[in-house]
C-alpha cells in the first residue's frame, strides 16, 4: 500500500474495519495512515459517525443537548432504536427494535404474592410505625434491624402517609389536608385518591372517567439498581364495623389498574397492590402491623393498555385499620431510567365483607 492513500484506499480499509473483515496487516496500515495524517482521521471519523447514526431509527432526533432553563417537565421522548443486549449497567440503549404489546396482559403475569401471617413475620419483619422513624433526617434503616434496603426505601414513603392517615382517623380530624375524610356506613376512610388524581398526561388516558392516580417519581438507588415509588392511597377505619359484628369473619378486597407512559426503559414496571391490617397502638409504641398481602404484576410499555390487580385480605383479630397502598418498581439497568416514564393507577375499588355479606363497597 502507498505511504499516503487515495480516498478510495482509505475508505476501503475503513469499511473492512467496520465490517470486521480487516486483516492484521491491513489494520497496521490503516493505523499508520490515521496516525500520520489529520485529514485521514477526519475522513475516518466522517464515515464512522455516519455508521453510528445508521444504527438508530431514521427520522428521529435526539433531545437537544442543553435543556433551556424554563423547559417544561413534560417533554415527549423520541422512540429510539435499541441495539445490542443489556449488560450489567443502566441504559440498555444499544440495539434492537422496540416491540409494543398492544393487548392487555392477563393477571397470570403477576409475579408474586406475599401473604404474611404473624407466624411468618420473622421472615419479613414489618416494623412498627414508630413516631421517631418519621422525623426528618432519621436514618430509618438503622432503626429497623435486619431489614432490607428495599423495604426501608418503600417504608420511608409509605409509613409517613399511613401513619398520618391512621392519626387522622383516630383523632377524627376531618379537615386534614392531603386527602378526604369519608364516612361509608360504619366505616370511616382517609382517602388520598382525590389528592393524587390528575387528568390525562404523557400520552396516558385514564382507564375510565377523566382522572387517574399519578404515582410520584421513583426513588432511585443507583448502586443496587432499584427504583420505586409507593403511595398509601387509603386508610380505612374498621373498628366500629368489627365491634358491631363480633365473631364474624371479615375480609377486605381491592382492585386497581396500572399503566405507565412512554419512556426509555426496556421493560414495564412491576406494580404492586398492598393491603395491610394494623392493630391497636401499644403504650409507647406505634401502630402494630398484623398482616400484609402484596400482589404484583409486570406491566408493559404500552400506554394504551391498563393492567388489573385484585387482592384480598382476611382481617385478623384485633385489626383496627386497613391500609391500601400502591407501588411501582423497577430493577436492574432499567431502574436508572425509571423516571423517564410516569406511572399511573385507576379504577381503585375497595370492599369490606362480613361473613358472606358485602357490607361496604365496592367503593
Amino acid at each position: 500500500m502507498n505511504a499516503q492513500p487515495s480516498t478510495d484506499d482509505l475508505d476501503l480499509l475503513i469499511c473492512k474495519l467496520l465490517d470486521q473483515t480487516i486483516t492484521p496487516k491491513e489494520h497496521n496500515q490503516l493505523s499508520k495512515w490515521l496516525e500520520t495524517s489529520r485529514s485521514n482521521r477526519l475522513r475516518y471519523l466522517e464515515i464512522v459517525r455516519c455508521e453510528s447514526l445508521l444504527h438508530w431509527e431514521p427520522g428521529e432526533v435526539d433531545l437537544p443537548e442543553e435543556l433551556p432553563v424554563d423547559s417544561p417537565k413534560l417533554i415527549p421522548f423520541p422512540v429510539f432504536t435499541w441495539v445490542g443486549s443489556v449488560a450489567a449497567c443502566l441504559l440498555a440503549l444499544a440495539g434492537g427494535w422496540w416491540a409494543f404489546i398492544a393487548e392487555q396482559v392477563p393477571d397470570s403475569l403477576w409475579a408474586s404474592q406475599t401473604l404474611l401471617s404473624p407466624e411468618h413475620s420473622s421472615s419479613y419483619a414489618l416494623p412498627s410505625v414508630h413516631k421517631d422513624t418519621l422525623n426528618p433526617g432519621k436514618d430509618l434503616r438503622s432503626s429497623s434491624s435486619g431489614e432490607s434496603k428495599l423495604v426501608s426505601v418503600r417504608q420511608e414513603q409509605g409509613d409517613m402517609q399511613l401513619r398520618e392517615g391512621i392519626e387522622i382517623l383516630r383523632s377524627g380530624n376531618r379537615f386534614a389536608s392531603g386527602g378526604t375524610f369519608e364516612f361509608l356506613g360504619d366505616l370511616q376512610r382517609w382517602n388520598r385518591v382525590p389528592y393524587l388524581s390528575r387528568g390525562a398526561e404523557n400520552g396516558v388516558l385514564p382507564a375510565t372517567g377523566a382522572n387517574m392516580i399519578g404515582l410520584e417519581k421513583m426513588n432511585i438507588d443507583v448502586e443496587s439498581q432499584i427504583a420505586q415509588s409507593s403511595e398509601t392511597v387509603q386508610v380505612v377505619d374498621v373498628r366500629k364495623v368489627l365491634r358491631l359484628n363480633p365473631g364474624e369473619k371479615a375480609s377486605v378486597s381491592a382492585s386497581v389498574k396500572f399503566n405507565q407512559s412512554f419512556g426509555e426503559t426496556q421493560e414495564g414496571a412491576e406494580f404492586g397492590l398492598t393491603l395491610q391490617a394494623y392493630g391497636p397502638q401499644e403504650v409507647g409504641e406505634g401502630e402494630k402491623p398484623l398482616l400484609r398481602v402484596e400482589k404484583n404484576l409486570f406491566g408493559d410499555r404500552d400506554p394504551n393498555s391498563w393492567h388489573q390487580l385484585t387482592s384480598e385480605l382476611e382481617l385478623p383479630n384485633g385489626a383496627e385499620y386497613v391500609v391500601v397502598s400502591l407501588s411501582a418498581k423497577k430493577l436492574g439497568p432499567d431502574a436508572l431510567l425509571a423516571n423517564t416514564s410516569s406511572y399511573y393507577c385507576d379504577d381503585l375499588v375497595f370492599s369490606l365483607t362480613l361473613g358472606d355479606q358485602s357490607i361496604v363497597g365496592p367503593i
Binding site: 467496520l18 441495539v83 440503549l93
Partner: protein
C-alpha cells in the same frame, strides 16, 4: 451512594446524549459490540457521578471525557489484540472536535440520503445497519457472494458520506436562513 435520585433533567441530558456518545465511542473502538459495552459502562459511571456534575457546566464535554477513559480502560482490559487502535491513536481521534449540533444536522441529512439509496443498496444497508447482520449472514440471506456484499457496503458508505456532506450543507443554510 444509597438512595441517590437521578434528577429528571440529568436523565434527559443523558438520554439525549446517547447517539453522540455511541458515535464517539464507536470511532475509538471501531467495533459495534465493543462500543455498546463501553457505552453501557460509560452510562453507569455517568449515573454514579451524576451528583458531581455541575448543571451549569458542559454536559457533553464531561460525558465524552468519561467515555474516553472508559474506552482506554476497555482496550486495556481486553488485552490488546492486533485489531485495536493504540492508545495514542485513540487520544488523537478523541481530541478531534465532535460538534454535537452538527450531529443533529448530519442525522437529518442521513435520513434523506438513506432514502435516496437505490433499492438493492437499501436492502443490504438495512440488513447490515439495522438488522446488524454480519457479512456472512447477509450472504446467506441475499444469495450473493461475500465479495459482492463487501463491495456494495463500500459503495453504500461512500455514497452516504458524499450525499450527507451535500445535504448537511443545504440543511445548514436552511437553518441559518430560518434564524435570520
Amino acid at each position: 451512594m444509597a438512595n441517590e435520585s437521578i434528577s429528571f433533567e440529568f436523565s434527559q441530558k443523558l438520554v439525549g446524549m446517547q447517539r453522540n456518545l455511541y458515535g464517539f465511542i464507536l470511532s475509538l473502538v471501531a467495533n459495534r459490540s465493543d462500543a455498546e459495552d463501553v457505552l453501557q459502562e460509560t452510562n453507569l459511571i455517568l449515573c454514579q457521578k451524576s451528583k458531581e456534575y455541575n448543571p451549569q457546566g458542559n454536559f457533553r464535554s464531561w460525558a465524552f471525557n468519561i467515555a474516553r477513559y472508559q474506552v482506554l480502560a476497555y482496550l486495556t482490559t481486553k488485552k490488546r489484540s492486533k485489531i485495536q487502535f493504540s492508545n495514542e491513536l485513540v487520544d488523537s481521534l478523541a481530541s478531534e472536535e465532535f460538534d454535537t449540533k452538527q450531529y443533529h444536522i448530519t442525522q437529518r441529512a442521513l435520513q434523506i440520503c438513506y432514502e435516496l439509496l437505490p433499492e438493492h443498496m437499501r436492502e443490504i444497508a438495512r440488513l447490515r445497519f439495522k438488522e446488524d447482520m454480519s457479512l456472512k449472514e447477509i450472504c446467506k440471506v441475499s444469495g450473493r457472494p461475500i465479495g459482492a456484499i463487501s463491495a456494495t457496503l463500500y459503495r453504500i458508505r461512500q455514497n452516504l458520506v458524499q450525499c450527507v456532506r451535500i445535504k448537511a450543507s443545504q440543511l445548514e443554510i436552511e437553518t441559518d436562513g430560518q434564524k435570520i
